[in-house]
Amino acid sequence: MHRLLVRQIASAKDDAGNIDIEKLAKLVDGAYKEIDLDAQRRERATRLMNEELDELNSELRKTVEKTKEQNTWFEAAINAMHQGLCLFGANDDLQVFNQQYCAMFGLAETQMWQGMTLRELLETRADKDLFFGDDWEDFVAHCYKRVSTDKWSSEIHAFNNGQSIEITVNPLPSGGYLLTYTDVTDRVVAESRIFQLAHHDSLTDLPNRANVRATLDEAIERAKNEDYQFGIMYLDLDGFKEINDTLGHIAGDAVLKCVSRRLKDMISEDVVIGRLGGDEFLIVVDRPTDEEELCDMAQNICDILWKQLTINQHDLNIDASVGIALGPSSDYCAETLMQFADLALYRAKTDKKSKYRIFETQMDVEVRERRRVATDLRRAISRTELEVHYQPQVSFINGEVQGYEALVRWQHPELGHIPPDRFIAIAEETGQISEIGRWVLERACQEATTWQNDEKIAVNVSSHQLRSLRFVDMVETAIINSGIDPRRLELEITESVLVQNPEMTMEIIHNINKMGVAVALDDFGTGYSSLSYLAKYKFQKIKIDRSFVQGIGGNAECNAIIDSIVSLGRSLNTIVTAEGVEEIWQLSQLQSAGCDQGQGFLFGKPAKDVDEFNKGSDRQIQMVLNAQHWNRRETRCLS
């Protein structure tokens, strides 16, 4: 009997043990009802559960369909990306990749499969050199190290096949990571090119000023730390400007390229050469054995550059000068060293004894002094520190003062009298000579108008002034402003002017002559002494350089030259003036030679006031002049 029924019967018994049927029936009925209710609950629950499951199933199907659709979109999207893409799960298993990844690495999609490890992925690229470094395992280890962190990272891999790929690792919140690949080869090449352009001279491809300067800074630092010496060479091409002016900038550029190529070919790897600009180069030599090695190298450079090169069918020999400085010293910075090398270069250029010079401390002192002179000279005119002194030009025929040469003098407020040889050259270098020349011309013209007699006034003209036709205007202005008779004015130019710019000089001389102003050829005999110049230009006067006058008596050649010049002057119907006449016997000799006039200490030192020359000549001079005068007259009569 069922244990429930047993209990129900037991419950339905009264105290006497009789079964109360009604009570029993009630209990059994209750049990049946419980079973029914239980069945109803179960049925209801099952039905509801089925409904819910159907509903969920329907939603799931929709979701699957939607997911399929989204997958299609997703696939289209990732395959349309410019970047390659690989998504790995937390177990080093490839889940997603796109076509661009395959295309980027030249892989067929069949070479890829879901679940492949990163190592297997990398191995598909191994034989295509799509890794970097020498060791394949190191590369794989590097890749695994990158993806094992939970931080975003991006790195450009320069693969051995030349491709540059930027690979970004994006860790995923659920574990795993997303790799994106961007081909940045063009960008890397462009950046490299930009770097090259920023640090190299575009014409010669040599390191540019900033680059070579940085190299120099590093060299100084290294040399200080490791206690050794290095050298720098400042190289400059002589006459490069003339090449540019005469053959054009394209030819000039060709010369620079050629020079750069020759320099690159000859220097070793530990020597850095850069172009500072123009025709200036800087060479940094790490650890030279000694100064001699640097000198040898400098000489070698000059020799190699001197070798003939042909530009636009012009054969050229490039002359170079080199300034050498050695570093480091505790207080020498790159700027100072470059300055030293520049000073040495300047000295090499001006000395003309050697094509290279090593910097010496004295050079610095000289340059500082020159710099001060140049600076002060700028203010000299406005502060009326300049003066014009006059030196008489005396006729060898009658001893009369026929004219004066205007000579500029500088009375410095602190340094006192500064002789012309200390500042004229500087003024020429800096270009200030033009301004000084203009001032002297105007001043001399004005003062000449105050003289009692109408002696001529000779003013020196520098090559700077003759580079422009405006000089003619300047002369005209000086004449108009002073009111001087132009026939009293005489301009002295040197032979070098004629050589530098013959065409323009000729035009200027022609225009000046047209105004009635005379032109004298100064310092004749020291330069080119070209007879063709004398024939080509109509000089009203030739001035024999003082060096020949100094040589009279002791040097037969000087006498011969003087005779020749006098004879030439006579042939050209040009007055011949001797400069630097200091001794009476020089006067005698010059007069005998037939020289027309002279100037020098014998007749008077340059002085501010011309009146003192009019007090009368020295008796001895006068006697010589008189005697010679008559002798010459007789000679002429006899001949």
Binding site: R3, L4, R7, Q8, L27, G30, A31, E34, D38, R41, R42, R44, A45, L48, M49, E52, L53, L56
Partner: protein, 377 residues
């Protein structure tokens, strides 16, 4: 150790007529809600020196009276085991975890061997209470017991300890010494069914939404006409709740109350947002099998006298109907013929899932523990 159990229908009978041949150390009782307080006082008078502890319930039973008793008691005389009891009253603002921690703080000692705990059944979060005790009491010390009941009314429950009896209390007795041996078993017999749902909104032990829909709606739908009998009818469909992907950490949860305005369900344990919940159902045979399994696990290894304490969920009684006694009878068959026991239908069970594991708060289970003393040199 000596044990006597007694079941009868009135307080007077229990208090006056119950004769036992020893002076008990511990007296335990479970009684109908309307009888519990009077019974407590009567028993206190009957054995004023014993530790007296008990609670109201959803029905009580013993080996002698499987279903008919209004109250059931046990008197225990220990040979070696020492006792210490504690009563923690709590207010509405008291956190259940704090109450659990207070109990542990009072009872914890090096030789603590087991804890038997009874709690107010309506006003406590069983999960938090157990967590509070577990803060100090290590896993190898079993904590067993349950939440008091109120028949199938879910209104008021009482617990009592010594001179105190009433609502809003947690009482516990600690059993100390090497001699005590405790075996325990805990099984349900319920099976999850239907879709898995996600707890999308919950606060403490209040469940508001499953899959974004009011939780009460789900229960009303499944209960149909029986929804009118909520919260009691909610016991028919307990919830299987576990953290996502951690099914082995799951627990059965049964509702204690509902809030029709908020469309929420109030459980005896914590409901975690994000957890997975699934409705459960059971056949009578499955529940009976569960009880048999629990009894087998709780069978004492000692041949000497022992006491069985059974705590079964009120929900099981509801489902079992007239066959509720089948569950008790199967315990008789498995726990051993000579083991006396008393038990009650609770609003929540407290027991480790298996030996050596941490104590958990359960619903819809039969939990059985047997206490005995072994010979200690």
């Amino acid at each position: 150790m000596r044990v006597e159990t007694f079941s009868n229908t009135t307080a007077e009978q229990l208090g006056q007529n119950w004769q036992f041949g020893f002076e008990p150390d511990l007296m335990l009782y479970f009684a109908d809600p309307d009888l519990a307080q009077d019974l407590h006082r009567a028993l206190r008078q009957r054995a004023p020196n014993a530790t007296l502890m008990g609670c109201s319930s959803g029905g009580q039973f013993s080996r002698q009276a499987h279903a008919s008793a209004n109250a059931t008691c046990a008197a225990v005389k220990f040979d070696k085991t020492r006792l210490k009891s504690v009563c923690i009253p709590f207010s509405d603002s008291t956190n259940s975890q704090t109450a659990g921690l207070d109990i542990a703080t009072n009872l914890m000692a090096d030789d603590l061997a087991a804890v038997f705990v009874l709690s107010d059944g309506m006003q406590v979060n069983g999960t938090e209470l157990v967590e509070g005790m577990a803060t100090l009491i290590p896993n190898h010390i079993p904590v067993v017991g349950g939440l008091a009941g109120d028949g199938d009314q879910f209104v008021r429950t009482f617990v009592g300890l010594n001179d105190q009896v009433g609502e809003k209390m947690v009482v516990a007795v600690g059993l100390y010494g090497d001699a005590l041996d405790v075996a325990h078993g805990c099984e349900g017999g319920w099976t999850p069914f239907g879709p898995r749902r996600v707890v999308t909104r919950a606060e403490g032990n209040v469940l508001y939404e499953l899959d974004g829909k009011p939780a009460l709606d789900l229960y009303e739908r499944y209960l149909g006409d029986e929804a009118a009998a909520l919260p009691a009818s909610g016991l028919l469909f307990p919830l299987w709740v576990h953290p996502t992907n951690e099914e082995d950490q799951g627990a059965v949860r049964t509702l204690l109350n509902i809030d029709r305005d908020a469309k929420s369900l109030i459980f005896a344990g914590t409901m975690q947002e994000g957890a997975v919940a699934q409705l459960m159902t059971a056949t009578r045979d499955a529940l009976i099998y569960g009880a048999a399994q629990a009894a087998t696990d709780a069978t004492s290894r000692n041949k000497s006298d022992s006491l069985g304490l059974l705590v079964s969920c009120i929900g099981r009684k509801l489902v079992m109907g007239q066959r509720a006694e089948d569950e008790i009878e199967t315990v008789d068959d498995h726990i051993g013929q000579d083991v006396p026991y008393i038990g009650f239908y609770s609003y929540g069970e407290i027991c480790p899932r298996s030996s050596g594991t941490h104590t958990m708060f359960h619903n819809q289970t039969m939990t059985i523990s047997t206490f005995s003393e072994k010979d200690v040199a």
